[in-house]
Amino acid sequence: MGMDRRESMKVMALASVALAVPGCTTRDMERAATHAAERVARQLPEADRLPTILSPTEYRTVEVLVDWIIPADERSGSATDAGVPAFIDFMLADAPDLEIPVRGGLGWLNAESMRRTGIMFADSLPPDQQSLIDDIAWPEAAAPEMEAGVRFFNLMRDLTASGFFSSRIGFDDLGYLGNRPQGGWDGCPDEAHVHLGLD
């Protein structure tokens, strides 16, 4: 994967040289692209990372939960496809303030699942998982006694979105076009103008 990515970075950068960035020499662009590609190559792929904070049970719960939040659809893969569980595990180590609300919330989820079905969340049947989530996913509609669950779900929704959309899959899903050498700057394209009702 490292290799293709390195190549594609170079191609991307060099392709835009063909668009003639004013005054930017091929060397400048190549240097910038190689520099970026080398950093990419040094990264450990998300999937190869082992959980450091979450227990295997917690990790599995996270895997199931984040795919309810962001499932695969016709445009892109699911949260686990994008490495969100590993991302969340990393964040718990990086931002220690998150550890208690996330791990505590996972405990709440499993306890609630046990109360309702006698089995842990990840092992329960999809319809049972869904009905539990339905009770905590809409803060305005949720019952007052679900408050702890609602707060936890809000946090997991935020973390899942962070992890999914800031991944490679998420970038492509959104159609993020920036942070790369552009041939120039044309401003706002016509279709967008029309959409905004600007002349």
């Binding site: 960035v21 305005e140 962070s162 998420g170 920036g178 942070n179 044309d186 394209p189």
Partner: protein, 571 residues
């Protein structure tokens, strides 16, 4: 000993220090520059073109990089082992860099000239003081700076926002056009922004390629940093010696009271050193330069060096600041487009009440604009449950939040639909706002630290109230809804804490009268003729304009004065 003597010792390698080094090495002086931080090179170390997914942290802030892990600043609001203190009941937020180039690696590149009125505020409204120089004294240096460093903008002839020598500005982004339309309806003028980013090649520096990552350090040197633009030509003369990890302790003086050099501690080895120089230039940033002077006590200078006027540390100001944000339904479901552009705003709202004396505050502010489909990072789509209930389409019967494919689509639809504005205004310089040496606290090198005592007055609070009202008018006129509640007097009209805007100026001010100023009109100490200050410390007033373009124009002018005085053998 003499052979070790340099012509000039400069403390600090940021905007001011870099400029003086550039000018004086090229004029033939042998210059030694002391920099407390380590080596950092934008071409080598900048994280331009790095995608957030390359890091498991996804661009999130770290304790070492409070503005994001790829932000090009070593330093931040807290430096290990280098505390500072504040007087009871006051706050001061102090952002310090410790690296070659100082804060100019990650600064916003908003490069504004002060206008003619900004140099004579006392004449106009009886508050603060006039500068000992006028706009016309500085204009030739601003002109040279524009040509040398490069800046884009448009000549608009706006009162008190002097036009420069501009490269063409980049066209506005979609959301900027939308907001500008609203501002127009609200009677607020909008002009292209003025940033020190090259839209055309300049010398050996290529034009910007619009990756939108200026704050990470530009590997093609297409924007301005002191390290990437000013230091290479200075090194090329062979006249510059840069000493990194050199934390200046005090300015040394001889029996005649004149400066003889600077003592410093090597922060890595903790060894003490001294450099000798015929001229000393302080450019360690406004507060650090004041600290150095206050710590340079001797029997001849018991109140600190260059401080018989007792103004050193006083008249400290920061820009006022406040933010407002709108949600714009028309930005939902936008066709795919790129908002990155240069790493900063393409439009700018200058102060538009310059001649209006009917407002309940005296000084102006400008508005900076932000938003758009910026690179997804940690925090993307946060708190969507507060907003997606209002979207059209799908099942919204249970309000905001949810999960699944509809939620996934909501994230896409809402990306880039928030646009914000930041008001940045002038604080009036007042003697009672100051930093001084805390007699009880030293840093890890044993250097006494600063204690701050700064508060806003009604002038600043009412100015930001006006900003909040205006910003909401603009948001509504542009078809959006304001996201945050209108602040009130109880929460100080939502003003930032002093220091947070990182525009500290005024602590070693210039003036014609040695009793009320530390420096003369050439930024030369009234008392010590071979001592100069070349950062924002000499500023007599703040202006609502971001200070750095004026720091550099003034530093150029100061360097020119030093060169001619040395030539005439006056110093």
């Amino acid at each position: 000993m003499k052979s070790d003597e340099y012509d000039v010792c400069i403390v600090g390698s940021g905007a001011g220090g870099g400029m003086v080094a550039h000018e004086l090495t090229r004029a033939g002086a042998r210059v030694v520059m002391l920099e407390a931080g380590g080596d950092w090179d934008a071409v080598r170390d900048g994280a331009m073109l790095t995608n957030n997914y390359e890091s498991p942290r996804r661009g999130k802030a770290t304790p070492e990089r409070p503005f994001g892990e790829f932000d090009a600043c070593i330093g931040g609001w807290h430096l290990d082992g280098e505390p500072y203190t504040t007087a009871e009941g006051t706050t001061w937020d102090w952002w310090r860099a410790r690296m070659v180039g100082g804060r100019t690696h990650h600064w916003g590149r908003i490069s504004l000239r002060f206008g003619p009125d900004d140099f004579r505020r006392k004449t106009l409204d009886e508050k603060g003081d006039d500068w000992p120089i006028s706009y016309n004294d500085l204009k030739p240096w601003y002109d040279r700076l524009d040509r040398m460093v490069g800046i884009f903008g448009e000549a608009n002839g706006v009162y008190n926002e002097p036009d420069g020598i501009f490269m063409p500005p980049p066209a506005p982004r979609c959301y900027e056009k939308m907001l500008a339309r609203g501002a127009e309806r609200a009677g607020v003028p909008v002009i292209p922004s003025r940033l020190s980013v090259l839209t055309k090649p300049l010398g050996d520096r290529p034009a910007c390629h619009y990756c939108g990552q200026c704050n990470r350090g530009c590997s093609t040197r297409s924007n301005f940093s002191s390290q990437s633009v000013l230091l290479p030509p200075a090194f090329a003369t062979g006249n510059l010696t840069l000493i990194t990890h050199a934390m200046a302790r005090e300015v040394l003086t001889g029996d005649d009271g004149r400066a003889t050099g600077v003592s410093y501690v090597d922060t890595a080895s903790r060894q003490e050193f001294q450099v000798r120089a015929r001229v000393v230039v302080l450019a360690a940033s406004a507060c650090e330069s004041a600290r150095l002077l206050l710590n340079s006590k001797s029997h001849r200078h018991p109140n600190g060096l260059a401080n018989s006027s007792d103004v050193v540390g006083r008249y400290l100001t920061d820009s006022t600041g406040a933010d407002a944000m709108g949600f714009f339904p028309q930005l939902v479901d936008m066709p795919v487009h790129n908002d990155d552009g240069v790493g900063g705003m393409h439009i700018y709202i200058p102060w538009w009440h310059e001649k209006d004396r009917s407002l309940p505050f005296s000084r102006g502010y400008h508005i900076e604009v932000w938003g758009g489909r910026s690179m997804p990072a940690y925090g993307f789509g946060g708190s969507i449950h507060r907003v997606n209930g209002k979207l059209s389409g799908g099942d919204r019967s249970r309000g905001g939040g949810g999960y699944g494919t509809q939620l996934k689509d909501d994230y896409r639809r809402l990306w880039g639909t928030y646009v914000g504005m930041s008001g940045r205004g002038e604080m009036i310089a007042r003697r009672e706002n100051y930093c001084e040496i805390d007699p009880e606290v030293v840093d890890q090198y044993g250097i006494p630290v600063l204690k701050f005592n700064v508060s806003w007055s009604d002038e600043e609070l009412l100015q930001m109230k006006h900003f909040h009202e205006t910003a909401r008018e603009i948001i509504h006129a542009a078809g959006g809804e304001s996201v945050w509640d209108m602040p009130t007097a109880d929460n100080d009209w939502g003003i930032t804490r002093p220091g947070q805007i990182i525009h500290e100026v005024g602590t070693v001010r210039m003036g014609n009268d040695p009793k009320t100023s530390a420096l003369n009109s050439n930024c030369q100490s009234h008392e010590v003729d071979n001592l100069f200050v070349a950062d924002a410390a000499p500023f007599v007033s703040q202006a609502h304009k971001n200070p750095t373009w004026t720091i550099m124009a003034l530093a150029m002018r100061t360097a020119d004065h030093i060169a001619s005085e040395v030539k005439r053998r006056n110093i």
